[in-house]
Protein backbone atom coordinates (compact mmCIF):
# COMPACT_ATOMS: atom_id res chain seq x y z
CA UNK A 1 0.00 0.00 0.00
CA UNK A 2 1.13 3.62 0.07
CA UNK A 3 3.90 4.65 2.41
CA UNK A 4 1.44 5.45 5.14
CA UNK A 5 0.13 1.89 5.13
CA UNK A 6 3.64 0.50 5.07
CA UNK A 7 5.47 2.83 7.40
CA UNK A 8 7.85 0.48 9.05
CA UNK A 9 9.60 -1.24 6.23
CA UNK A 10 12.88 -2.52 7.64
CA UNK A 11 14.92 -1.30 4.73
CA UNK A 12 15.10 -4.15 2.23
CA UNK A 13 15.79 -7.01 4.62
CA UNK A 14 12.36 -8.50 4.04
CA UNK A 15 12.68 -8.01 0.28
CA UNK A 16 15.87 -10.04 0.28
CA UNK A 17 14.31 -12.75 2.35
CA UNK A 18 11.22 -12.85 0.12
CA UNK A 19 13.44 -13.01 -2.93
CA UNK A 20 15.19 -15.99 -1.36
CA UNK A 21 11.91 -17.80 -0.59
CA UNK A 22 10.08 -17.35 -3.89
CA UNK A 23 10.53 -20.06 -6.48
CA UNK A 24 11.61 -18.87 -9.97
CA UNK A 25 8.79 -18.45 -12.47
CA UNK A 26 6.10 -18.58 -9.78
CA UNK A 27 2.84 -16.68 -9.86
CA UNK A 28 3.05 -13.97 -7.21
CA UNK A 29 0.54 -11.50 -5.79
CA UNK A 30 2.01 -8.61 -3.79
CA UNK A 31 -0.71 -7.12 -1.60
CA UNK A 32 0.18 -3.52 -0.88
CA UNK A 33 2.80 -3.35 -3.59
CA UNK A 34 3.42 0.42 -3.36
CA UNK A 35 5.27 1.61 -6.43
CA UNK A 36 6.17 -1.93 -7.37
CA UNK A 37 9.74 -2.13 -6.03
CA UNK A 38 9.42 -5.68 -4.75
CA UNK A 39 7.38 -6.88 -7.72
CA UNK A 40 9.86 -5.48 -10.18
CA UNK A 41 12.68 -7.12 -8.23
CA UNK A 42 10.85 -10.45 -8.31
CA UNK A 43 10.12 -10.17 -12.02
CA UNK A 44 13.72 -9.27 -12.79
CA UNK A 45 15.51 -11.69 -10.48
CA UNK A 46 13.08 -14.59 -10.37
CA UNK A 47 11.11 -14.24 -13.58
CA UNK A 48 7.83 -14.41 -11.69
CA UNK A 49 4.40 -13.72 -13.17
CA UNK A 50 3.60 -10.88 -10.79
CA UNK A 51 0.43 -9.01 -9.90
CA UNK A 52 -0.11 -6.33 -7.31
CA UNK A 53 -2.78 -4.69 -5.21
CA UNK A 54 -2.14 -1.11 -4.17
CA UNK A 55 -4.36 1.36 -2.36
CA UNK A 56 -3.17 4.60 -3.97
CA UNK A 57 -3.80 5.63 -7.57
CA UNK A 58 -0.34 7.18 -7.69
CA UNK A 59 1.20 3.86 -6.70
CA UNK A 60 -0.81 2.02 -9.37
CA UNK A 61 0.30 4.55 -11.99
CA UNK A 62 3.93 4.09 -11.01
CA UNK A 63 3.50 0.31 -11.32
CA UNK A 64 1.80 0.62 -14.72
CA UNK A 65 4.70 2.62 -16.10
CA UNK A 66 7.00 -0.18 -14.96
CA UNK A 67 4.91 -2.67 -16.90
CA UNK A 68 3.44 -4.29 -13.81
CA UNK A 69 -0.16 -5.47 -13.62
CA UNK A 70 -1.63 -3.82 -10.55
CA UNK A 71 -5.12 -3.26 -9.26
CA UNK A 72 -6.18 -0.45 -7.03
CA UNK A 73 -7.65 -1.88 -3.88
CA UNK A 74 -6.90 -2.93 -0.35
CA UNK A 75 -6.28 -6.15 1.50
CA UNK A 76 -9.52 -5.99 3.46
CA UNK A 77 -11.93 -5.58 0.58
CA UNK A 78 -10.35 -6.67 -2.63
CA UNK A 79 -8.65 -10.02 -2.23
CA UNK A 80 -11.93 -11.50 -3.42
CA UNK A 81 -11.17 -10.14 -6.89
CA UNK A 82 -8.94 -13.12 -7.51
CA UNK A 83 -10.07 -16.70 -7.98
CA UNK A 84 -8.99 -19.39 -5.53
CA UNK A 85 -5.43 -20.72 -5.95
CA UNK A 86 -4.64 -18.20 -8.64
CA UNK A 87 -1.13 -17.75 -7.23
CA UNK A 88 1.77 -19.71 -5.87
CA UNK A 89 2.63 -16.94 -3.40
CA UNK A 90 0.68 -14.07 -1.88
CA UNK A 91 2.88 -11.49 -0.18
CA UNK A 92 1.75 -9.12 2.55
CA UNK A 93 4.75 -7.15 3.68
CA UNK A 94 4.51 -5.09 6.91
CA UNK A 95 0.80 -4.53 6.35
CA UNK A 96 -1.05 -7.21 8.34
CA UNK A 97 -1.02 -5.01 11.44
CA UNK A 98 -2.68 -2.21 9.46
CA UNK A 99 -5.65 -4.12 8.05
CA UNK A 100 -9.11 -4.13 9.56
CA UNK A 101 -9.55 -7.90 9.67
CA UNK A 102 -6.17 -9.60 9.91
CA UNK A 103 -7.68 -13.02 10.45
CA UNK A 104 -9.88 -12.79 7.36
CA UNK A 105 -7.04 -11.32 5.30
CA UNK A 106 -4.73 -14.15 6.30
CA UNK A 107 -7.34 -16.76 5.45
CA UNK A 108 -7.96 -15.01 2.12
CA UNK A 109 -4.27 -14.95 1.23
CA UNK A 110 -4.21 -18.71 1.60
CA UNK A 111 -7.39 -19.06 -0.40
CA UNK A 112 -5.89 -17.42 -3.46
CA UNK A 113 -2.33 -18.67 -3.08
CA UNK A 114 -0.66 -21.91 -2.01
CA UNK A 115 1.70 -19.98 0.20
CA UNK A 116 1.48 -16.67 2.00
CA UNK A 117 4.55 -14.65 2.86
CA UNK A 118 3.69 -12.28 5.68
CA UNK A 119 5.85 -9.88 7.63
CA UNK A 120 4.91 -7.63 10.54
CA UNK A 121 6.51 -5.73 13.45
CA UNK A 122 6.75 -7.87 16.58
CA UNK A 123 5.05 -6.16 19.51
CA UNK A 124 6.80 -8.60 21.82
CA UNK A 125 10.24 -7.19 20.97
CA UNK A 126 12.24 -6.10 24.01
CA UNK A 127 12.33 -2.47 22.90
CA UNK A 128 8.56 -2.38 22.74
CA UNK A 129 8.16 -4.11 26.09
CA UNK A 130 10.66 -1.90 27.89
CA UNK A 131 9.32 1.27 26.27
CA UNK A 132 5.86 0.43 27.55
CA UNK A 133 7.12 -0.72 30.95
CA UNK A 134 9.31 2.30 31.58
CA UNK A 135 7.44 5.18 29.97
CA UNK A 136 3.94 3.86 30.53
CA UNK A 137 3.09 5.12 27.07
CA UNK A 138 2.46 3.46 23.74
CA UNK A 139 5.89 2.42 22.48
CA UNK A 140 7.64 4.73 20.08
CA UNK A 141 10.42 2.62 18.63
CA UNK A 142 12.38 2.64 15.41
CA UNK A 143 9.84 0.20 13.98
CA UNK A 144 6.72 1.75 15.50
CA UNK A 145 7.14 5.44 15.00
CA UNK A 146 3.73 7.08 14.85
CA UNK A 147 1.82 8.32 17.89
CA UNK A 148 -1.11 6.12 18.89
CA UNK A 149 -3.68 8.52 17.49
CA UNK A 150 -2.29 8.53 13.97
CA UNK A 151 -0.67 5.15 13.55
CA UNK A 152 -1.97 2.98 10.73
CA UNK A 153 -1.07 -0.02 12.88
CA UNK A 154 -4.39 -0.92 14.43
CA UNK A 155 -3.84 -4.64 14.97
CA UNK A 156 -0.40 -5.07 16.47
CA UNK A 157 0.55 -8.51 17.69
CA UNK A 158 3.47 -10.41 19.15
CA UNK A 159 5.18 -13.42 17.63
CA UNK A 160 3.30 -15.63 20.04
CA UNK A 161 -0.05 -14.07 19.10
CA UNK A 162 0.71 -14.67 15.47
CA UNK A 163 1.74 -18.30 15.82
CA UNK A 164 -1.43 -18.86 17.89
CA UNK A 165 -3.52 -17.45 15.05
CA UNK A 166 -1.71 -19.65 12.54
CA UNK A 167 -2.54 -22.68 14.68
CA UNK A 168 -6.11 -21.55 14.97
CA UNK A 169 -6.41 -21.14 11.20
CA UNK A 170 -4.71 -24.49 10.69
CA UNK A 171 -1.81 -22.90 8.79
CA UNK A 172 1.55 -24.56 8.47
CA UNK A 173 4.61 -22.40 9.13
CA UNK A 174 7.08 -23.32 6.41
CA UNK A 175 9.69 -20.72 7.24
CA UNK A 176 10.17 -17.99 9.80
CA UNK A 177 12.82 -15.30 9.94
CA UNK A 178 13.63 -12.47 12.31
CA UNK A 179 14.25 -9.11 10.69
CA UNK A 180 16.15 -6.17 12.13
CA UNK A 181 16.99 -2.97 10.31
CA UNK A 182 20.42 -3.10 8.75
CA UNK A 183 20.98 -6.78 9.44
CA UNK A 184 20.35 -9.77 7.20
CA UNK A 185 17.30 -11.90 7.93
CA UNK A 186 17.92 -14.63 10.49
CA UNK A 187 16.08 -17.92 10.40
CA UNK A 188 14.35 -18.58 13.73
CA UNK A 189 12.06 -20.88 15.63
CA UNK A 190 9.00 -18.67 15.92
CA UNK A 191 7.59 -20.40 19.00
CA UNK A 192 10.80 -20.12 21.03
CA UNK A 193 10.13 -17.75 23.92
CA UNK A 194 13.39 -15.88 23.43
CA UNK A 195 12.61 -15.03 19.82
CA UNK A 196 9.52 -13.20 20.96
CA UNK A 197 11.93 -10.82 22.75
CA UNK A 198 14.61 -10.73 20.09
CA UNK A 199 12.83 -10.35 16.74
CA UNK A 200 12.11 -6.74 15.85
CA UNK A 201 10.04 -7.79 12.87
CA UNK A 202 9.11 -11.25 11.71
CA UNK A 203 8.59 -12.81 8.32
CA UNK A 204 6.65 -16.03 7.82
CA UNK A 205 5.98 -18.30 4.93
CA UNK A 206 2.70 -20.12 5.51
CA UNK A 207 0.75 -22.80 3.75
CA UNK A 208 -2.55 -24.52 4.38
CA UNK A 209 -2.00 -27.59 6.48
CA UNK A 210 -1.64 -28.98 9.94
CA UNK A 211 -0.79 -26.80 12.95
CA UNK A 212 2.77 -25.48 13.05
CA UNK A 213 5.52 -27.77 14.17
CA UNK A 214 7.82 -26.62 16.95
CA UNK A 215 11.10 -27.44 15.27
CA UNK A 216 12.98 -24.73 13.37
CA UNK A 217 11.63 -24.82 9.89
CA UNK A 218 13.31 -24.40 6.58
CA UNK A 219 11.33 -23.71 3.45
CA UNK A 220 10.28 -27.05 2.04
CA UNK A 221 11.06 -27.48 -1.62
CA UNK A 222 7.75 -29.10 -2.48
CA UNK A 223 4.33 -27.70 -1.76
CA UNK A 224 2.26 -30.00 0.47
CA UNK A 225 -0.54 -29.68 -2.01
CA UNK A 226 1.42 -30.76 -5.05
CA UNK A 227 -1.57 -32.51 -6.54
CA UNK A 228 -3.46 -29.29 -7.10
CA UNK A 229 -5.68 -29.03 -10.08
CA UNK A 230 -4.80 -26.67 -12.89
CA UNK A 231 -6.40 -23.29 -12.30
CA UNK A 232 -7.38 -20.29 -14.31
CA UNK A 233 -4.04 -18.54 -14.25
CA UNK A 234 -2.10 -20.14 -17.06
Amino acid sequence: MSEERRPDQPAREDFREILRLVRPGARVLDVGCGEGDLLELLVREKGVDGRGIEISAAGVSACLSRGLAVMQGDADRDLAEFPARAFDYAILSQTLQAVREPRTVLANLLRLADRAIVSFPNFGHWRVRTALAISGRMPNTRVLRDPWWSTPNIHLCTLRDFTDLCADLDLRIEAAAALSAGRPARSMNPVAALENWRAESALFMLSRGRPPVAAPVEPTPESPSATRTPDLFG
Binding site: D49, R51, A57, A58, V60, S61, A62, C63, L64, S65, R66, G67, L68, A69, V70, M71, Q72, G73, A80, E81, F82, P83, A86, L232, F233, G234
Partner: protein
Protein backbone atom coordinates in the same frame (compact mmCIF):
# COMPACT_ATOMS: atom_id res chain seq x y z
CA UNK B 1 -13.44 3.65 -46.74
CA UNK B 2 -15.80 1.24 -48.38
CA UNK B 3 -15.73 -2.37 -47.18
CA UNK B 4 -16.40 -4.56 -50.18
CA UNK B 5 -17.14 -7.71 -48.20
CA UNK B 6 -20.70 -7.88 -46.88
CA UNK B 7 -21.02 -7.24 -43.15
CA UNK B 8 -22.87 -10.00 -41.33
CA UNK B 9 -24.87 -8.67 -38.38
CA UNK B 10 -25.86 -10.31 -35.11
CA UNK B 11 -29.52 -9.89 -36.05
CA UNK B 12 -28.97 -12.18 -39.04
CA UNK B 13 -29.20 -9.30 -41.52
CA UNK B 14 -26.39 -8.37 -43.90
CA UNK B 15 -25.18 -4.97 -44.96
CA UNK B 16 -23.57 -4.52 -48.35
CA UNK B 17 -20.97 -1.92 -49.28
CA UNK B 18 -20.54 -0.59 -45.77
CA UNK B 19 -18.81 2.76 -45.51
CA UNK B 20 -16.57 3.43 -42.54
CA UNK B 21 -15.41 6.99 -41.91
CA UNK B 22 -12.13 7.19 -40.05
CA UNK B 23 -9.12 9.31 -39.29
CA UNK B 24 -5.56 8.38 -38.54
CA UNK B 25 -2.76 10.23 -36.81
CA UNK B 26 0.89 9.38 -37.07
CA UNK B 27 2.54 6.82 -39.27
CA UNK B 28 2.26 3.04 -39.33
CA UNK B 29 5.72 1.57 -38.79
CA UNK B 30 7.24 -1.05 -41.09
CA UNK B 31 6.39 -3.90 -38.69
CA UNK B 32 2.82 -2.58 -38.39
CA UNK B 33 3.16 -2.92 -34.65
CA UNK B 34 2.37 0.59 -33.43
CA UNK B 35 -1.34 0.89 -34.30
CA UNK B 36 -3.76 2.01 -31.61
CA UNK B 37 -7.50 1.92 -32.26
CA UNK B 38 -9.54 4.46 -30.31
CA UNK B 39 -13.25 3.71 -29.93
CA UNK B 40 -15.66 6.60 -29.42
CA UNK B 41 -18.67 6.94 -27.15
CA UNK B 42 -22.39 7.15 -28.00
CA UNK B 43 -22.40 10.56 -29.64
CA UNK B 44 -18.72 10.76 -30.52
CA UNK B 45 -17.22 10.26 -33.93
CA UNK B 46 -13.92 9.78 -35.71
CA UNK B 47 -12.87 13.38 -35.12
CA UNK B 48 -10.66 12.31 -32.26
CA UNK B 49 -8.26 15.21 -32.40
CA UNK B 50 -9.39 17.21 -35.41
CA UNK B 51 -11.95 20.00 -35.66
CA UNK B 52 -15.54 18.80 -35.93
CA UNK B 53 -16.90 19.68 -39.39
CA UNK B 54 -20.27 20.87 -38.02
CA UNK B 55 -19.43 22.53 -34.73
CA UNK B 56 -15.85 23.56 -35.48
CA UNK B 57 -14.95 22.41 -31.96
CA UNK B 58 -11.78 20.54 -31.12
CA UNK B 59 -11.77 16.74 -31.37
CA UNK B 60 -13.46 14.90 -28.51
CA UNK B 61 -10.19 13.57 -27.09
CA UNK B 62 -7.91 16.23 -28.51
CA UNK B 63 -6.28 16.64 -25.10
CA UNK B 64 -5.07 13.03 -25.14
CA UNK B 65 -3.42 13.20 -28.57
CA UNK B 66 -0.15 14.94 -29.30
CA UNK B 67 3.60 14.71 -29.03
CA UNK B 68 4.50 13.70 -25.48
CA UNK B 69 0.88 12.82 -24.67
CA UNK B 70 -0.48 9.31 -24.06
CA UNK B 71 -1.51 8.99 -27.73
CA UNK B 72 1.56 10.25 -29.51
CA UNK B 73 1.48 10.59 -33.32
CA UNK B 74 5.28 10.51 -33.37
CA UNK B 75 5.23 7.04 -31.84
CA UNK B 76 1.81 5.58 -32.55
CA UNK B 77 -0.39 5.10 -35.57
CA UNK B 78 -3.72 6.18 -34.12
CA UNK B 79 -6.96 5.09 -35.76
CA UNK B 80 -10.42 6.34 -34.87
CA UNK B 81 -13.49 5.37 -36.88
CA UNK B 82 -17.11 6.45 -36.75
CA UNK B 83 -19.19 3.52 -35.51
CA UNK B 84 -21.52 1.54 -37.68
CA UNK B 85 -24.96 3.12 -37.23
CA UNK B 86 -23.39 6.56 -36.75
CA UNK B 87 -24.16 9.70 -38.69
CA UNK B 88 -20.76 11.19 -39.42
CA UNK B 89 -19.88 9.23 -42.52
CA UNK B 90 -20.14 5.58 -41.54
CA UNK B 91 -23.12 3.59 -42.75
CA UNK B 92 -26.13 4.24 -40.56
CA UNK B 93 -29.88 4.84 -40.72
CA UNK B 94 -29.39 8.20 -42.44
CA UNK B 95 -27.28 6.60 -45.20
CA UNK B 96 -28.74 5.88 -48.60
CA UNK B 97 -29.85 2.28 -48.95
CA UNK B 98 -28.08 1.11 -52.13
CA UNK B 99 -31.06 -1.10 -52.96
CA UNK B 100 -33.68 1.65 -52.87
CA UNK B 101 -31.68 4.80 -53.42
CA UNK B 102 -33.46 6.30 -50.39
CA UNK B 103 -32.32 6.84 -46.79
CA UNK B 104 -32.61 3.68 -44.72
CA UNK B 105 -34.60 5.21 -41.89
CA UNK B 106 -36.13 2.42 -39.83
CA UNK B 107 -35.41 -0.14 -42.55
CA UNK B 108 -31.82 -0.06 -41.27
CA UNK B 109 -31.18 -3.30 -39.39
CA UNK B 110 -30.78 -3.21 -35.63
CA UNK B 111 -27.09 -3.37 -34.81
CA UNK B 112 -25.05 -4.41 -31.80
CA UNK B 113 -21.75 -3.43 -30.22
CA UNK B 114 -20.33 -6.63 -31.72
CA UNK B 115 -21.45 -5.47 -35.18
CA UNK B 116 -19.66 -2.16 -34.66
CA UNK B 117 -16.52 -4.04 -33.65
CA UNK B 118 -16.83 -6.40 -36.63
CA UNK B 119 -16.89 -3.37 -38.93
CA UNK B 120 -13.84 -1.91 -37.13
CA UNK B 121 -11.99 -5.19 -37.52
CA UNK B 122 -12.69 -5.09 -41.26
CA UNK B 123 -11.28 -1.57 -41.38
CA UNK B 124 -8.18 -2.73 -39.49
CA UNK B 125 -7.89 -5.57 -42.04
CA UNK B 126 -8.06 -3.10 -44.89
CA UNK B 127 -5.28 -1.08 -43.27
CA UNK B 128 -3.18 -4.23 -43.31
CA UNK B 129 -2.82 -4.46 -39.56
CA UNK B 130 -2.88 -7.86 -37.92
CA UNK B 131 -2.36 -7.04 -34.24
CA UNK B 132 -3.22 -3.72 -32.63
CA UNK B 133 -0.80 -2.39 -30.05
CA UNK B 134 -3.82 -1.28 -28.07
CA UNK B 135 -7.58 -0.83 -28.34
CA UNK B 136 -8.77 1.96 -26.12
CA UNK B 137 -12.11 3.58 -25.41
CA UNK B 138 -14.36 5.14 -22.82
CA UNK B 139 -18.07 4.59 -22.15
CA UNK B 140 -19.54 2.91 -25.24
CA UNK B 141 -15.98 2.95 -26.55
CA UNK B 142 -15.05 0.85 -23.54
CA UNK B 143 -17.81 -1.62 -24.38
CA UNK B 144 -16.27 -1.96 -27.83
CA UNK B 145 -12.90 -2.62 -26.20
CA UNK B 146 -14.46 -5.43 -24.15
CA UNK B 147 -16.10 -6.81 -27.30
CA UNK B 148 -12.75 -6.72 -29.10
CA UNK B 149 -11.27 -8.70 -26.22
CA UNK B 150 -14.01 -11.29 -26.52
CA UNK B 151 -14.11 -11.57 -30.34
CA UNK B 152 -10.54 -10.82 -31.46
CA UNK B 153 -8.32 -11.55 -28.45
CA UNK B 154 -5.41 -12.63 -30.62
CA UNK B 155 -5.45 -9.28 -32.41
CA UNK B 156 -4.91 -7.27 -29.23
CA UNK B 157 -1.50 -6.69 -27.74
CA UNK B 158 -3.14 -4.70 -24.96
CA UNK B 159 -6.44 -2.98 -24.13
CA UNK B 160 -7.77 -0.06 -22.11
CA UNK B 161 -11.40 0.12 -20.99
CA UNK B 162 -12.47 3.38 -19.32
CA UNK B 163 -15.74 4.17 -17.51
CA UNK B 164 -17.63 1.30 -19.08
CA UNK B 165 -19.59 -1.81 -18.23
CA UNK B 166 -19.88 -5.37 -19.46
CA UNK B 167 -23.66 -5.09 -19.68
CA UNK B 168 -26.30 -2.40 -19.61
CA UNK B 169 -28.21 -2.27 -16.33
CA UNK B 170 -31.94 -1.72 -15.97
CA UNK B 171 -31.22 1.90 -15.08
CA UNK B 172 -29.02 2.34 -18.16
CA UNK B 173 -31.76 0.93 -20.38
CA UNK B 174 -34.38 3.05 -18.62
CA UNK B 175 -32.57 6.30 -19.32
CA UNK B 176 -32.08 5.34 -22.95
CA UNK B 177 -35.75 4.49 -23.27
CA UNK B 178 -36.66 8.00 -22.03
CA UNK B 179 -34.48 9.41 -24.80
CA UNK B 180 -35.94 7.19 -27.49
CA UNK B 181 -39.50 7.93 -26.41
CA UNK B 182 -38.75 11.65 -26.54
CA UNK B 183 -37.57 11.28 -30.14
CA UNK B 184 -40.46 9.08 -31.20
CA UNK B 185 -42.98 11.41 -29.53
CA UNK B 186 -41.81 14.28 -31.72
CA UNK B 187 -44.34 14.59 -34.60
CA UNK B 188 -41.43 15.47 -36.88
CA UNK B 189 -39.95 12.04 -36.36
CA UNK B 190 -42.61 10.77 -38.84
CA UNK B 191 -42.28 7.15 -37.88
CA UNK B 192 -38.56 7.38 -38.56
CA UNK B 193 -39.12 8.54 -42.12
CA UNK B 194 -38.33 12.21 -41.46
CA UNK B 195 -35.39 12.33 -43.86
CA UNK B 196 -37.56 11.46 -46.86
CA UNK B 197 -40.32 13.74 -45.71
CA UNK B 198 -38.03 16.71 -45.22
CA UNK B 199 -38.56 17.05 -41.47
CA UNK B 200 -36.26 16.82 -38.44
CA UNK B 201 -37.32 15.70 -34.95
CA UNK B 202 -35.17 18.31 -33.29
CA UNK B 203 -37.26 18.81 -30.17
CA UNK B 204 -37.38 15.14 -29.36
CA UNK B 205 -33.68 14.65 -29.96
CA UNK B 206 -32.86 17.68 -27.82
CA UNK B 207 -34.91 16.32 -24.91
CA UNK B 208 -33.18 12.95 -25.30
CA UNK B 209 -29.84 14.69 -25.10
CA UNK B 210 -30.88 16.73 -22.07
CA UNK B 211 -31.92 13.64 -20.13
CA UNK B 212 -28.78 11.77 -21.12
CA UNK B 213 -26.53 14.70 -20.36
CA UNK B 214 -27.62 14.66 -16.71
CA UNK B 215 -26.41 11.06 -16.46
CA UNK B 216 -22.98 12.09 -17.72
CA UNK B 217 -22.47 14.52 -14.85
CA UNK B 218 -22.55 14.10 -11.11
CA UNK B 219 -24.79 15.81 -8.61
CA UNK B 220 -21.72 17.43 -7.07
CA UNK B 221 -20.52 18.75 -10.43
CA UNK B 222 -23.95 20.14 -11.31
CA UNK B 223 -24.23 21.78 -7.90
CA UNK B 224 -20.73 23.23 -8.12
CA UNK B 225 -21.31 24.56 -11.62
CA UNK B 226 -24.83 25.92 -11.27
CA UNK B 227 -26.26 25.56 -7.77
CA UNK B 228 -29.54 27.46 -7.77
CA UNK B 229 -28.07 30.37 -9.72
CA UNK B 230 -30.60 32.28 -11.81
CA UNK B 231 -30.26 33.43 -15.40
CA UNK B 232 -31.62 36.89 -14.66
CA UNK B 233 -32.47 38.89 -11.56
CA UNK B 234 -35.50 37.30 -9.96
CA UNK B 235 -37.88 34.58 -11.04
CA UNK B 236 -40.01 34.82 -14.16
CA UNK B 237 -43.05 33.27 -12.48
CA UNK B 238 -43.37 31.22 -15.64
CA UNK B 239 -41.60 28.46 -17.48
CA UNK B 240 -38.70 30.24 -19.04
CA UNK B 241 -35.26 28.96 -18.17
CA UNK B 242 -35.04 30.71 -14.80
CA UNK B 243 -32.21 28.59 -13.49
CA UNK B 244 -28.81 28.46 -15.09
CA UNK B 245 -28.91 24.69 -15.10
CA UNK B 246 -32.07 24.80 -17.24
CA UNK B 247 -30.47 27.16 -19.67
CA UNK B 248 -27.37 24.97 -19.80
CA UNK B 249 -29.38 21.85 -20.58
CA UNK B 250 -31.45 23.63 -23.23
CA UNK B 251 -28.25 24.81 -24.85
CA UNK B 252 -26.79 21.29 -24.74
CA UNK B 253 -29.93 19.88 -26.35
CA UNK B 254 -30.12 22.56 -29.04
CA UNK B 255 -26.43 22.27 -29.94
CA UNK B 256 -26.65 18.50 -30.15
CA UNK B 257 -29.36 18.38 -32.84
CA UNK B 258 -27.09 20.26 -35.22
CA UNK B 259 -24.55 17.48 -35.20
CA UNK B 260 -26.50 14.27 -34.60
CA UNK B 261 -29.16 12.24 -36.34
CA UNK B 262 -32.23 11.14 -34.37
CA UNK B 263 -32.42 7.67 -35.89
CA UNK B 264 -28.72 7.11 -35.25
CA UNK B 265 -29.45 7.94 -31.63
CA UNK B 266 -32.17 5.27 -31.57
CA UNK B 267 -29.99 2.62 -33.17
CA UNK B 268 -26.86 3.26 -31.14
CA UNK B 269 -28.67 3.43 -27.80
CA UNK B 270 -30.37 0.17 -28.75
CA UNK B 271 -27.01 -1.43 -29.45
CA UNK B 272 -25.81 -0.36 -26.01
CA UNK B 273 -28.95 -1.70 -24.34
CA UNK B 274 -28.50 -5.04 -26.08
CA UNK B 275 -24.91 -5.22 -24.83
CA UNK B 276 -24.36 -8.06 -22.38
CA UNK B 277 -20.93 -9.53 -22.98
CA UNK B 278 -21.42 -12.52 -20.69
CA UNK B 279 -24.78 -13.59 -22.17
CA UNK B 280 -23.39 -15.63 -25.10
CA UNK B 281 -21.04 -17.35 -22.62
CA UNK B 282 -23.62 -18.81 -20.31
CA UNK B 283 -23.62 -15.65 -18.24
CA UNK B 284 -20.00 -16.21 -17.17
CA UNK B 285 -18.07 -13.08 -18.04
CA UNK B 286 -14.68 -14.73 -17.51
CA UNK B 287 -15.54 -17.12 -20.35
CA UNK B 288 -15.80 -14.15 -22.72
CA UNK B 289 -12.16 -13.34 -21.95
CA UNK B 290 -10.86 -16.89 -22.36
CA UNK B 291 -8.83 -16.03 -25.43
CA UNK B 292 -6.85 -13.24 -23.82
CA UNK B 293 -3.94 -15.24 -22.39
CA UNK B 294 -1.68 -12.73 -20.63
CA UNK B 295 -2.81 -9.63 -22.50
CA UNK B 296 -2.14 -6.45 -20.50
CA UNK B 297 -5.59 -5.02 -19.84
CA UNK B 298 -6.13 -1.72 -18.06
CA UNK B 299 -9.53 -0.87 -16.61
CA UNK B 300 -10.34 2.56 -15.22
CA UNK B 301 -13.38 4.01 -13.46
CA UNK B 302 -14.28 7.29 -11.79
CA UNK B 303 -15.57 7.66 -8.24
CA UNK B 304 -18.50 9.90 -9.16
CA UNK B 305 -19.60 8.00 -12.30
CA UNK B 306 -23.10 6.79 -11.49
CA UNK B 307 -23.88 5.77 -15.07
CA UNK B 308 -21.28 2.98 -15.09
CA UNK B 309 -20.18 2.97 -11.48
CA UNK B 310 -16.94 1.43 -10.22
CA UNK B 311 -18.48 -1.95 -9.28
CA UNK B 312 -19.17 -2.50 -13.00
CA UNK B 313 -15.48 -2.03 -13.75
CA UNK B 314 -14.55 -4.28 -10.85
CA UNK B 315 -16.77 -6.98 -12.29
CA UNK B 316 -14.81 -6.73 -15.52
CA UNK B 317 -11.50 -6.86 -13.66
CA UNK B 318 -12.56 -9.89 -11.65
CA UNK B 319 -13.50 -11.71 -14.86
CA UNK B 320 -10.22 -10.71 -16.49
CA UNK B 321 -8.32 -12.04 -13.49
CA UNK B 322 -10.28 -15.26 -13.57
CA UNK B 323 -9.45 -15.63 -17.25
CA UNK B 324 -5.76 -15.04 -16.61
CA UNK B 325 -5.36 -11.69 -18.34
CA UNK B 326 -2.87 -9.23 -16.91
CA UNK B 327 -5.49 -6.92 -15.48
CA UNK B 328 -4.74 -3.56 -13.95
CA UNK B 329 -7.32 -1.30 -12.40
CA UNK B 330 -7.54 2.28 -11.15
CA UNK B 331 -10.48 4.17 -9.73
CA UNK B 332 -9.80 7.84 -10.35
CA UNK B 333 -10.97 10.25 -7.67
CA UNK B 334 -13.14 12.80 -9.47
CA UNK B 335 -16.42 14.64 -8.87
CA UNK B 336 -17.03 15.17 -12.59
CA UNK B 337 -19.18 12.09 -13.13
CA UNK B 338 -19.14 9.79 -16.14
CA UNK B 339 -17.78 12.43 -18.52
CA UNK B 340 -14.61 12.72 -16.42
CA UNK B 341 -12.93 10.48 -18.99
CA UNK B 342 -13.23 13.29 -21.54
CA UNK B 343 -12.01 15.97 -19.17
CA UNK B 344 -8.81 17.07 -17.54
CA UNK B 345 -7.94 14.28 -15.11
CA UNK B 346 -4.19 14.19 -14.47
CA UNK B 347 -4.36 10.81 -12.70
CA UNK B 348 -6.01 9.27 -15.76
CA UNK B 349 -3.42 10.84 -18.08
CA UNK B 350 -0.51 9.61 -15.97
CA UNK B 351 -1.88 6.09 -15.67
CA UNK B 352 -2.63 5.88 -19.39
CA UNK B 353 0.77 7.28 -20.27
CA UNK B 354 2.49 4.75 -18.03
CA UNK B 355 0.48 1.84 -19.33
CA UNK B 356 0.89 2.66 -23.02
CA UNK B 357 4.58 3.35 -22.50
CA UNK B 358 5.15 -0.02 -20.90
CA UNK B 359 3.20 -2.01 -23.50
CA UNK B 360 5.06 -0.21 -26.27
CA UNK B 361 8.35 -1.08 -24.58
CA UNK B 362 7.39 -4.71 -24.19
CA UNK B 363 6.60 -4.80 -27.92
CA UNK B 364 10.04 -3.40 -28.66
CA UNK B 365 8.78 0.04 -29.66
CA UNK B 366 10.51 3.33 -28.77
Amino acid sequence: MRIERPLRLDSGARLEQVEIAFETYGRLNAEKSNAILVCHALTGDHHLASAHPVTGKRGWWDRMVGVGRPLDPERHFIICSNVLGGCMGSTGPSSINPETGEPFGLSFPVITIADMVRAQAMLVDELGIETLLCVIGGSMGGMQVLQWAADYPERLFSAVCIAATARHSAQNIAFHEVGRQAIMADPDWRGGDYARQGARPQKGLAVARMAAHITYLSEAALQRKFGRELQRDGLSWGFDADFQVESYLRYQGAAFVDRFDANSYLYITRAMDYFDLAAPHGGVLAEAFRGLKSTPFFVMSFTSDWLYPTPESRTVVRALNAAGAKASFVEVESDKGHDAFLLDEPVMDAALHGFLGSVAASRGLP
